[in-house]
Amino acid sequence: MLNSHEIALRLERILPQVQKPGRYVGGEYNQISKDWQAVATRVALAFPDIYDIGLPNLGLAIFYEQLNARPDVLAERVYCPWIDMEAHMRAEQIPLFSLESQRPVLDFDILAFTLPYETLFTNALNLLDLAGIPLKSSQRAAHHPLVIAGGHACYNPEPMADFIDAFVIGEGEEVIEEIVNTYQAWKRTGQDRRALLLALAAIPGVYVPMFYRPVFQADGTLERMETLDPAVPVNITKRMLARLPPAPSHFLVPNIEVVHNRISVEIMRGCTRGCRFCHAGMINRPVRERSIEEIVETLQTALDSTGFEEIALLSLASSDYTRITDLVDAVTTRFAGKNLVVSLPSLRIESFSVDLMEKLKGSRQGGFTLAPEAATERMRTIINKPISTEQLLETARAIYSHGWPTIKLYFMIGHPEETLEDVQAIADLCKAVLAEGRRTIGGRAQVHAGVSTFIPKPHTPFQWVSADSVEQIEAKQALLRRELRGPNLKLNWTDPRDTMLEAFLSRGDRRLGEVILGAWQRGAKFDAWQDQVRHDAWQEAIADAGLTMDFYVHRTRFVDEVFPWDHINPAVKKSYLLEEYRNSQSGILRGDCRQQCYACGILPTFTGLRRLNRGDYWKCPEVPARKTPALAE
């Protein structure tokens, strides 16, 4: 294995020959380079896609700042090399190295992946391979880095269970410290790797798959998840921070163009709307908001320390932020005249949103985005996203008349029980919006429709449903293409095969480990890249493992089916999800749970934390205490 000096020498020759060599050299403003010898524990933080996409990732930024704040820890970054760079690295036997010190990842104590979505799985395997770390957890020895992962895709950890030593379920800010502490204690004792993994399994919110064995039934569904050591918990409850910690502010300032060149501040976490298709809305409960003062101070520090020209105020539903007008006023007043671009995504479909955007005085070039998701009342009731078409058209009028020539409309096809009439309604609605635009501003008006395809996700009310078949999706897309032709109408859609792959991986079980490995061995990587994804490799790997995509994607589950992710507890009860599934079938809407508690399970799961954090920091309304014992602290 080459050392960092030898790696640097070989890079000298290689870098001039690859695209965007700035991806591989670090050196950004706010990069933290610590003395390797002066710390006890070295963590490599990996985003399994290229630098351009990984650098702006907020999750990695949080851990980079937080871990490096510890005097006894250093954290450095790792991203995927692009195809050209990977070829050079393999040819020259350059192992995967960190950007800060150009040290081989094999020299680190912990390799931590962030896995926000499933199409990064093969990239994670590729990174392990480039690092020279055995791909399977079971093949690793004490001297190998501990391989951990967290992020939204880890709420169903089973497909990646063979490759990850320990998963973090839920919010990582507190538990990462506990993992590091546990690692340090283990290292001092000099015990074997199993001892480390057992100690990690004892940390709330940490799932160590090697201590669990899925038992399957003859029909291929799960019978139960067996624990293999009496010390490990049967269920793993997600970690949740009672109060949001200080937001990161010393962002890395890239020396090359990346996908988002900006400061990102989470104004709140979670969402109370309860859209039934939404994974993020179910797993990020309860809603917690940062104060206006904290947000503005963070922005000031971040602007001073980065010099960025753009800020993004992030949340799942900006309009729901309690004092959104005051926040927007505070931001625009504080940073007036600084040529700053402020983005505020996920606004509700109401003319008030236009007033908010108006205050931000941003460019109108990119258009104004609205996400009705569905176009008929029936569909909107099924997915629990009620908005009236009249309100949408009124909002569209306001948007056009305030100077935005383009409205982007996001829809999803493939929702449960959707018919071609519901899809036709999407086309009709787009045309109706465009007609509003024509009436308001004439021929300049544009509508861009982004129509993605619904994927049933674990831990949502739709985890039981079958996804549309490729034929169904193609028929729906053909209808849209036929209808949404003509000047000033633009349509984007997702390749059904990409949807199938993501749907397959989302609700997978542990048998998918063999498939992921097989697909990677056949050359699959960069599955999120339309020009790279290798559907042939996936098809072969699925067949080779004796599995079918249909079983995972196109099967309506029995209501009492044991799911591969049932032992992972997002603190939203399965019974609540089932109730919501049934509500969708009987046309029952549920309102914003800030107004009324529907007993999803968050409060009984976190009674202890709730008791310590009374008041309105959590946006759950106060519920009169019941005489049932608390489930967990």
Binding site: L15, G27, V253, G307
Partner: protein
């Protein structure tokens, strides 16, 4: 409004940041330094920052120039201190001076540049010397770059070889960097039969038209 010229070096990881991206690197550095940046007029106001001459990806330089416009007067030593506290690793400020607001744009003023090239692999110095002499004696050296033929010879003002004992062979080049007539060191290396990927190139001087060429 004032116009300030920064002489600086560029090295380290920033070697792999191209000219377009350097514009953003400077812009953000100046904002961190809290300089009162002047912006262009128009729909998308941009800070007025003007780099002299693109440095090819991978090259280091000890002789870069850049002009920046500020809306308010500011003492030069204060500008320098503020900028030095805000630039990323790889940049070093060498001099800060005020320039007449109406002086012509830097890009139109650059004339020639010197490059010092270190060859990574041993070469037959005598043979290389002969090849250099032949190249310099040739009336024209036609080469193709991006599908277009051009004459490399008039772009080379001077070239010499340096063989320090026990150290890698070095080449010193003076090339033109005028608008529309820019000599590229890697093209010279290729013409000499050398591998440009096995060489370290540093720009060591940038001359402007109104200055006298000193060491040609």
């Amino acid at each position: 409004m004032i116009r300030i010229r920064l002489s600086h070096s560029k090295s380290g990881a920033l070697r792999y940041t191209g000219n377009l991206d350097m514009q953003k690197v400077w812009e953000r550095a100046f904002r961190r330094a809290r300089l009162p940046l002047a912006y262009s007029q128009g729909f998308h106001p941009q800070p007025r920052i003007n780099q002299a001459c693109p440095l090819p990806l991978g090259f280091t330089s000890t002789a870069e120039l850049l002009d920046v416009w500020l809306t308010d007067e500011m003492p030069l030593d204060q500008v320098r201190a503020a900028v030095e506290g805000a630039i990323p690793a790889g940049l070093k400020i060498q001099a800060v001076e005020t320039i007449d607001l109406h002086a012509p744009a830097l890009q139109t003023q650059v004339d020639t540049a010197d490059y010092a090239i270190t060859l990574h692999h041993p070469v037959d110095a005598g043979d290389l010397r002969r090849r250099i002499a032949a190249l310099m004696d040739a009336p024209a050296v036609m080469r193709e770059r991006r599908g277009k033929m051009y004459n490399l010879r008039p772009l080379i003002m001077a070239m010499r070889i340096f063989e320090p004992i026990g150290n890698p062979v070095r080449l010193f080049l003076t090339l033109t960097v005028r608008e529309g007539a820019t000599g590229r060191p890697e093209e010279v290396l290729l013409e000499l039969g050398l591998d440009p990927f096995a060489a370290t190139v540093e720009r060591t001087q940038l001359r402007l038209k109104d200055l006298h060429p000193e060491s040609l």
